[in-house]
């Protein structure tokens, strides 16, 4: 029977849901002149939620609703960064949305519901809540991708996203049903992730369990955008409105890490030896395909999509180590990637204006002469994505490579290092275009004079430098969460 204690444990989630519904109603009854207020209120909701997550942090792990909701350090860290990067998306996306007339309440409402989805996925203690949280996130994302409905590209991207995502979701569900079936053979059928961890010990159908696990890995790989389940990513990145692309590359990837961790490490820990190898193979495919195909892209958003595919490969490097050190490294990587991606897209959003998307790499030609500060911030983001020391991205790569080697996957680490050098090319190409090419007619000009955007974006990009020098506390936090 649910009690008040259960409600108190998931107070941040309940707060965000209530506040979102409130904002939604407010939007409906607001005068048009007061609409800009909605933007600040939405950011306020996220900031208060961050405070509630941090302030209400329990000692150790607590569960609510009979183990369906888990509140532990892992969930808390992912939630903090998912909420923070979403707030950044709001700040960076405002001028873009105003220019395109998309600044309705529905953008904020759907984004906040997507955030609730992320919070539920990373806190799930049960296959049911995991799946439902994922669906909440996915459904909000489809609508957000299609938000700019009068144009063809977003509509096409949204349809592709919807169909492929539905297929992947079906795979995940199929796998879950097999695992549930296997848990019921020879024991009590269960959906709880912690209980599923013991199924291999007693089940009379271990093969069914493994089959289910493989189907679930397909679902997870799709959410992360791992090759060969990556086909949706470039089209969705390209077609979606840029603020939504930013959100998908930051918040959704944090959620996908949470999904992978909960499903594989918590739920299928007994089968670790098997999924570790599968993840290693998937990681290799992602690293190679992502880095090689990114080289030939001329569109910045598509290039970033392939870059995401390769980065998710690095994230799997950490997960495939299959020990707390590896999980900590993978989470460190996920956080690092979210901050880098938000910074890179933030510069792009700052340079876009009405009728001009600033999404071709050639649009950045000679940016240093027109907007030197923006060019510098982009330089930081690109160097960090490439993994150049002393930036944050370098340390994240070092941690996952170290975890892979400690996990006995030296070959995988070597693949990771080789592909990192291949990846250098396309990140450095963007920098070359910004600093050494002559500006062209029709390219990006000065950035938006939006002060909040400039301040937050500068802080975001500079944090990559600061965390590159002073990464210890964050890594320590990640390691403590997993008890490594």
């Amino acid at each position: 029977m649910p009690t008040l204690n259960d409600v108190l444990i998931m107070l941040p989630e309940l707060y965000v849901v209530t506040a979102t519904c409130f904002l939604f109603m407010l939007d409906a009854f607001m005068k048009p002149a007061q609409r800009p207020l909605l933007h600040w209120l939405a950011i306020g909701v996220l900031l208060v939620a961050i405070f509630m997550v941090v302030a209400g942090q329990p000692e150790g792990t607590v569960t609510a609703f009979g183990g369906m909701f888990v509140r532990d350090q892992v969930a808390e860290i992912i939630k903090v960064f998912a909420l923070a990067t979403t707030a950044m998306v709001f700040v960076y996306g405002r001028p873009y949305l105003i220019d395109r007339g998309l600044r309705g309440g529905e953008f904020y409402t759907l984004m906040l519901f997507a955030v609730v989805g992320i919070m539920l996925v990373v806190s799930a203690g049960n296959l049911l809540t995991l799946y439902l949280g994922l669906e909440l996130l996915a459904l909000s994302s489809y609508a957000l991708v299609a938000l700019n409905r009068d144009q063809k590209l977003p509509a096409e991207a949204a349809i592709k996203f919807f169909v492929l995502s539905a297929l992947a979701s079906g795979m995940l569900l199929y796998g879950m049903s097999m695992v549930y079936g296997a848990s019921g053979m020879g024991g009590e059928a269960t959906l709880g992730l912690a209980q599923l961890n013991q199924v291999l010990g007693y089940t009379t159908a271990p093969k069914l369990l493994q089959f289910g696990m493989i189907f679930m890995i397909v679902g997870v790989a799709f959410e992360l955008g791992i090759a060969p389940f990556h086909m949706w990513l470039p089209d969705v990145y390209h077609g979606a409105p840029s603020p939504v692309t930013t959100f998908i590359s930051a918040g959704s990837k944090l959620a996908a890490f949470g999904l992978a961790y909960r499903l594989l490490a918590t739920g299928m820990g007994d089968l670790g030896e098997q999924w570790r190898l599968i993840l290693a193979v998937l990681a290799t495919a992602s690293l190679v395909i992502g880095n090689l195909v990114a080289i030939v892209q001329t569109n910045f958003k598509r290039m970033m999509a392939y870059s995401t595919i390769s980065h998710m490969g690095y994230l799997l490097l950490g997960l495939s180590a299959g020990n707390p050190e590896g999980y900590a490294a993978a989470m460190f990587y996920a956080i690092c990637y979210a901050l880098m991606a938000v910074a890179a897209f933030g510069v792009m959003l700052a340079l876009s204006r009405a009728g001009f998307e600033c999404e071709e790499i050639s649009d950045f030609k000679g940016l240093n002469q027109k907007a030197p500060w923006m060019a510098f911030l982009m330089l930081l983001a690109m160097f960090s994505l490439a993994g150049v020391p002393p930036l944050f991205g370098f340390w994240a790569k070092v941690m996952v490579l170290e975890a892979a080697i400690h996990g006995g996957m030296l070959w995988l680490a070597i693949v990771g290092i080789v592909t990192a050098f291949i990846g250098l090319y396309y990140y450095l190409y963007v920098i070359k275009v910004m600093y050494f090419d002559q500006p062209e007619e029709g390219g990006a000009v000065a950035a938006k004079p939006d002060r909040s955007l400039r301040v937050v974006l500068s802080a975001n990009a500079l944090s990559l430098l600061v965390l590159g020098v002073w990464w210890g506390p964050l890594l320590g936090w990640c390691k403590r969460a997993f008890g490594a």
Partner: protein, 215 residues
């Protein structure tokens, strides 16, 4: 005797076979209306299987909600759409052999690996409704609002997002739309509608008067 004992199992296989065949028909039939009807049969077979599992409420809900409401709506939409069926199925025959081979290989692999034997094993779980002496419907309601309260509420959130998304994607403020404003109609003032103009009588010839009869 054995037939009577195995009746549920026989029924299960019969319904499962009908369900699989009708599901196959959904994606192979050329006529879209027939495909929708095949889908109705699929749902119906699924409902029968749930009845066998003693989940009466779910079975009836499936028929009432899906077959009765959703599929009928679906049928309306399909009938209203003007789909070029031939064009739609063009690639289908071409890829059918490949798809069939993949499906058969997967099925054989799964049966080979998991084994038919494992599939026939009875589960160790007992019917929770029977264990507490409740009817299936009663237990379902009880479980939904206690043990499964959180997933239930999340599902409600998903539906809310569905509504918001549908409205956000389809609601258009059309500036050229004509609509009636009742309060403006009531407030209408005849003096503003009709203007009496006093004009001097026309002195021109007949042809000018005919050209501009309203002047």
């Amino acid at each position: 005797m054995t037939v009577v004992q195995n009746l549920p199992l026989i029924c299960f296989y019969a319904f499962a076979a009908v369900m699989l065949l009708s599901a196959l028909a959904v994606i192979t039939l050329k006529n879209t209306v027939h495909a929708v009807l095949a889908l109705v049969l699929t749902f119906f077979s699924a409902a029968c299987m749930w009845l066998l599992a003693e989940a009466e409420f779910l079975a009836l809900a499936l028929i009432v909600v899906y077959v009765g409401a959703v599929m009928v709506l679906f049928l309306f939409v399909v009938m209203m759409l003007d789909i070029d069926v031939e064009k739609l199925r063009e690639g289908f025959v071409k890829f059918l052999p490949v798809g069939l081979i993949v499906a058969v290989v997967m099925l054989v692999e799964m049966l080979g690996v998991i084994g038919v034997h494992a599939m026939q094993l009875r589960t160790g779980s007992v019917d929770p409704a029977a264990a507490v002496g409740m009817s299936n419907t009663e237990w379902l309601g009880f479980a939904l609002y206690t043990r499964y309260l959180l997933p239930f509420e999340i599902a409600a959130l998903i539906l809310t997002v569905g509504v918001i998304a549908a409205v956000a994607l389809t609601l258009r403020e059309r500036r050229d739309a004509r609509y009636e404003n009742a309060s403006r109609q009531v407030k209408a003032d005849p003096r503003k509608r009709l203007r009496m103009v006093k004009m001097p009588p026309a002195h021109g010839d007949e042809s000018t008067a005919q050209e501009e009869p309203h002047a």
